[in-house]
Symmetry: none
Subunit: 222 residues, 2 copies
């Protein structure tokens, strides 16, 4: 289930949004101000953050800046300020969308879901692509340079993980956790072995999977 963090100082609004989101299969954590938000962010991974701008202690811009130092999680501002200057400031800080109060819950939900979808790299169609590689998350089919490619289950999951985090270095531990599961016992070389067969299966596009010495692997567009 997707996990969303809502940062908003008005208690009533906070719970209305949470209730509505929960009813639509989005789990929510709540924070009253920026500092509480950063505390939660230290210990949790979220799929999206809804961020009020005007808050005590640390405002939304501050939270956004802090988050963006380490994470690319989608951020959506909730705000009463609708002037262009604030909007542009938000985008410059790396936010993804804006909703001005008062807003429709249905629209907020739609925007949040669109953001989560997009951050996973897929449109509505469930298509993911990176360079010459295309993945269809609905059918679990893969194509490389226009040619269909047969992948084993583990290879597919591994490639999916790389695609969802394209451009980013993933360590063997991260890959083991996300693809093999937290309970996997073996050593990190298992990743190397799968990467090898994945590269072979992808043919020429296998070169898009780069080795980062002493760190892990990274999927690149070129």
């Amino acid at each position: 289930m997707e996990h969303v963090l809502i940062v908003e100082d008005e208690p009533r609004l906070r719970s209305i949004v949470r209730d509505y989101f929960s009813a639509h299969a989005l789990e929510c954590d709540l924070a009253r101000d920026g500092e509480e938000a950063l505390d939660l962010l230290r210990d949790h991974d979220y799929d999206a953050i809804l961020l009020d701008i005007l808050m005590p202690n640390l405002d939304g811009f501050g939270v956004c800046r802090a988050v963006r130092e380490t994470s690319a999680v989608p951020i959506l501002f909730l705000t009463a300020l609708a002037n262009e200057e604030d909007l542009l400031r938000g985008y410059a800080l790396g936010c993804d969308d804006y909703v001005t109060k008062p807003f429709s819950l249905a629209v907020l939900l739609a925007k949040t879901q669109a953001l989560i979808r997009r951050s996973r790299g897929t449109g509505e169609a469930g298509l993911l692509s990176c360079g010459a590689i295309t993945l269809n998350t609905r059918s679990r089919l893969c194509a490389s340079g226009g040619q269909d490619v047969k992948l084993s289950p583990r290879e597919y999951d591994l490639l999916l993980c790389l695609m969802r985090n394209r451009g980013q270095v993933l360590t063997r531990e991260q890959l083991l956790d996300k693809v093999w599961g937290l309970d996997f016992e073996g050593d990190g070389r298992a990743v190397d072995a799968r990467i090898r067969s994945l590269r072979a299966a992808l043919g020429k596009a296998g070169g898009q999977i780069k080795t980062v010495f002493k760190s892990g692997y990274r999927l690149e567009e070129v």
Copy 2:
């Protein structure tokens, strides 16, 4: 350069947007209606599509639906219709964002750039820069004066440490502790050796790493 498709039936608006976007390093193709858009989409890959809803021949919703059958390219609706129903319909079809006319060009540009950023999966996150040097902490990539630079793991970590403490002198001992780890046994000359290869790798920007006689090293903006 990023490549955007603008689908809009009003000629004046079309060229205003194109001129503004071109001036901000976004190349634009123009289409007058949905069918023309689909023709262009058959032969080109775009980084984003701006889509008017009310158009002759094939409206924006139709284009969106057709595009989403094969592609996950970011789609942003431009519309005079601001009612909730149409908005939700757009999101259900897999669009990414909405802008209602009349809109600010600056905001439209910011939204488009945010979408492209997001669809690349890179986000704004994790960028550190100092003078001509840029470090991406998520991809572990480094650029110097716009050129990609290949750094070894130790070089990267060393540069990261200098970037995080830019402007201040770091002694060899501090660097050994932070970069090599507290348990490193060798002597401080190991730092000199890494600094040397780092300077070489950075080319011209290597000069930003200053030697402070009898103290250590300092990274400067100029």
